[in-house]
Structure formats: C-alpha cells, structure tokens
C-alpha cells in the first residue's frame, strides 16, 4: 500500500489545517449559489402556493357573483378606499367646503379615473 502524498502546503501542514484565506471569487460564488438555491426554493414554494390559489379563486368568484361585489376589502378606513370603483375622485374632498384628504390610505390609492 502506497502512502498518500502530503496534500498540505507548508504553512497548512504546520497548522494541521487549511490556513489559506478563501479567495474572494470563491466567496462570491458561494454567496451566489446560496442565493440561487434560495430563489429556487422560493420558486417551488410559489408554484405550490399558486396551485392552492386556484382553489381559492373559485370561491372568490362565487362570492363576487353571489353578492355582486365591486371592490376589494383592503382598506376600511374611508369609503373611497373601501369602494374606489363606485366612488368619484372628488369624494375625499366632499365632507365640507375646503376639506382636505387626510386618511393614510389616500397616499397609497390613486383616485379612479373615468
């Protein structure tokens, strides 16, 4: 049986472990691989979530048709962000003359244009 050659370089052989610093390119490649693996996992999870969403979508369609709904129930603080589809753009300013729009959701939602 032949003895395996010493695979350590001299500083590492003295320390009995690899003391060579990792090359930046290797570090970068490892980080990139980690990111890609994470993205791959997110992709597979997203696909399974998408399948589950199809079942939910059928329920949402029945509710929309059965109740004649016109809007998403996302923001309930102001009637023009609860039901933007059936509100006028001027509604936020109709409370009294000189009224200003003051609800936080008004910053996120654009007024409907028709």
């Amino acid at each position: 049986m032949t003895k395996s050659p010493n695979r350590w370089c001299s500083p590492c052989a003295r320390a009995k472990r690899c003391v060579e610093p990792m090359r930046p390119a290797l570090r970068f490649a490892m980080f990139l691989c980690l990111l890609l693996a994470l993205d791959g996992a997110l992709l597979f999870d997203g696909l399974s979530r998408r399948m589950a969403e199809y079942a939910t979508l059928a329920r949402l369609e029945v509710v929309t048709r059965g109740l004649g709904l016109t809007d998403l129930a996302v923001a309930t603080e102001a009637r023009y962000t609860r039901h933007p589809a059936v509100s006028d753009p001027v509604v936020p300013f109709m409370d009294h003359p000189g009224a200003i729009e003051h609800f936080p959701t008004g910053a996120f939602w654009l007024p409907p244009s028709r």
């Binding site: 970068f28 990139l32 990111l35 994470l38 993205d39 997110l42 997203g46 979530r49 998408r50 969403e53 939910t56 979508l57 329920r59 949402l60 369609e61 029945v62 509710v63 929309t64 048709r65 059965g66 109740l67 004649g68 709904l69 016109t70 809007d71 998403l72 129930a73 996302v74 923001a75 309930t76 603080e77 102001a78 009637r79 962000t81 609860r82 933007p84 589809a85 059936v86 006028d88 001027v90 109709m94 609800f103 936080p104 959701t105 008004g106 910053a107 996120f108 939602w109 654009l110 007024p111 409907p112 244009s113 028709r114």
Partner: protein
C-alpha cells in the same frame, strides 16, 4: 468593502421599489381575476354630486330596454361601531336573486346563508374580522344601533371563509328588509340596482340606453370597475412617488460620489495596473464588469428580499400605509406574479441608471497617467 456597502444600499433601494411593484401588481391581478364577475351594470342615483338612494321604480322603467335579463336591488352601506371604532360594510340583498346566489353556502367556513326574507329575519353572515372584533365568546347574537339609537338584534347564521377575506373581511350580509330597518331607509328606496344583461357584448349599448332613460343615474359597467383597479394602484400615487423619489435620490448621491473624483487608493490601484501593462480599455472593461456584478447581485438580493417580504410577511412594511387607520385588516395572501415586464421595469429603474452613472468615472479612472497616480 466599498463595493459591499454600495451593494447593500443598492439592494435596499431595489427592495423598496420591487416590494411596491409586487404589492400593487398582486393586488391589481387579484382584482382583475375576481372583479371579472361583478354585476354587468350598477346603477346609482346622484344628486348634488353625491350618491343617494335610488327609487325601486327606476328598475321598472328599465323594463322597456331589450336585453336586460334581471334587475336586483341592494341596500348597502357603512356601519360605524363606536365601541370598537370600527367600520363594517353592511350588505342587504336577496341572495337567491343573484347569479350563483345558491352556491354562496359553499364559500362559508361555517353555517349557512340566510334564506328568503321571511325565514331569515335577523340572520346574518359575517366576515372573519367581524367575528374576531366583536369577540362574541361563543355567542351567535349581537345588536347594532338603528339611526334612532334603538337596538336591532341579529343572529349569526354563518361565517365567510378566511380564504375570501380579501372580499368579505368586513362584510355583514343580511336580507334587504333587515338592512332597510337597520339604516332606516324608507320603503321604495334602495342603495343601488344591479343590472344583468343577456348578452355580455351588449353591456355598453344597454348602459348607454339606461343613461338616456335615467339621466340622473350614474351607470357603472363591469369594464369601468375593472379599469379602476388597473389604475388605482400605481407609481403616481403619493406613496409610489415617494418610493421612486427615494430611489432617485439614492442614485443621485451614488452618481455624485462616483463622478466627483477618484480616491487616492483607486488612483494607486489603476496606476499599478497600468505599470503592469494594462490598457485603458482593459481597465474600462474590468470597471464595467464590476458595476454589472454589483448591480446584478444587488438586484437579485433586493428582489428576493422583496418577494419574501410580500409573500411571507404579507407586505408588513407597507400595511400601515396600505390599510391606514383601518381596524379590520384582512390577511391579503399576496402572491405576486413575476413577469418579465416587471423585472425589466425594476432593472430599468435601478441597474441601468447605475451602469450609466459608472461609465464616466470608469473612463476617467482608466485615463489616469500611471506616473501621476504613483506620485512620480
């Protein structure tokens, strides 16, 4: 180290932009899918620029318009619960008159839909948040105040499924008679009329005929409602503009830093490379590759973080603005669809300006004379 700090800031900017893009795109998508089933035409009476109750007799006036299959009256509105400081959306309608009204029972997590008016007096179906907010502790009854402050009792006959939260979270569904009694709306008046037509291709024509027959009525077609949700979330909103401006400010600072001059360390590095025989074009190529790597990596990190934020944390950073002072907050279950167009949009806003901002400094760095940089 400098590249790492640029990468982190850059990734944070992309995270902000991508999160906004994903939230708005997921909401618009959901609205597009779901609101394809809204009533074909909705009629509301307008007076002095405000919506008011519409007479039931208007529905009878539509009988002469050929192509209308059905007109369903509804009473709906908002009930402010002063104890819990919460807005509920109360909807009164005869579900058996609605298309697929008979299948609504299948969408409930528990219980049944109330039947026709006489049998279902005082029985309601509530959304998940209503049940939680009222904290009924096992009871199925609650009361709401009429306008004259007398109490109207209700019994919960069913609960909407959490899956339909994005539509039913704040809903209390009852029959028309109960809603009329609760809001004190006189007989013969309703909130709006849902019009269903026989041929969907005739919606616009019939809407035009209704507008001519009833000039004081606002006629909303299904396509108008869908169009609203395609524009209601966008970069032109106040919050969207802030996100864009923040990104722009970050890039201006970055470009300023890059264009304002080379650090002594960078000059030295370039000089050594030139002494070693590198051409200007080689240095330019290396700098460009470095920019591509930094911006590309920042893009992947930023977009991955944005996706995790939107899908797994329900866009927690945006919820305070998206829902504001709302007390009832649905679980949105957002699932953004990452289309090539959306990714290109993010790239156009972020990576391309960064590459452009680094071209001139890269050229300047490449033309530095080696002897001057080394102090010769």
């Amino acid at each position: 180290m400098k590249s790492l700090s640029v990468l982190l800031v850059f990734a944070a900017v992309i995270f902000l932009l991508a999160s906004f893009q994903m939230v708005t795109q997921a909401l618009s998508d959901k609205a597009k899918q779901v609101l394809a089933h809204t009533p074909e035409i909705t009629l509301q009476k307008m007076s002095a620029g405000r919506q008011e109750s519409i007479p039931l007799a208007y529905g009878e006036q539509l009988a002469g318009i050929f192509g209308i299959r059905r007109v369903v009256p509804r009473i709906w509105g908002y009930y402010f619960d002063e104890v819990r400081l919460t807005n509920y959306t109360v909807m009164g309608l005869e579900v058996n008159e609605m298309p697929e009204g008979g299948r609504l029972g299948a969408t409930l997590a528990k219980g049944v839909m109330p039947g026709p008016a006489d049998e279902a007096q005082g029985r309601v179906v509530v959304g998940q948040s209503i049940k939680k907010t009222m904290d009924l502790a096992g009871r199925t009854t609650f009361s709401l105040f009429r306008p004259d402050l007398s109490l109207k009792p209700f019994e919960i006959s069913g609960e909407f499924s959490p899956d339909t939260d994005i539509l039913t979270n704040d809903l209390i569904v009852m029959n028309v008679a109960d809603a009329r009694d609760l809001f004190g709306i006189p007989a013969g008046l309703v909130t709006d009329l849902c019009v269903y037509v026989a041929n969907p291709k005739e919606i616009e024509t019939i809407a035009k005929k209704i507008s001519e027959a009833l000039p004081s009525v606002r006629v909303l077609t299904r396509s108008q409602i869908q169009k609203t949700y395609q524009v209601v979330f966008g970069w032109r909103s106040g919050f969207g503009s802030i996100c864009l401006l923040a990104a722009l400010a970050a890039f201006v600072i970055l470009a300023w830093d890059k264009a304002s001059g080379l650090s002594p360390e960078e000059r030295r590095e370039i000089a050594i490379l030139k002494v070693l025989g590198w051409e200007t074009s080689d240095i330019l190529a290396v700098r460009s590759r470095e920019s591509v790597i930094v911006s590309g990596l920042a893009c992947i990190v930023g977009m991955t973080a944005a996706y995790i934020h939107v899908v797994y944390f329900d866009a927690a950073l945006f919820r305070p603005v998206l829902m504001g002072w709302s007390v009832l907050r649905p679980d949105l279950h957002l699932l953004p669809r990452l289309a090539a167009g959306d990714i290109l949009l993010i790239l156009a806003f972020t990576v391309i300006p960064y590459l452009a901002a680094t071209v001139i400094p890269a050229w300047r760095s490449a033309t530095v004379p080696a002897d001057s940089a080394l102090g010769g």
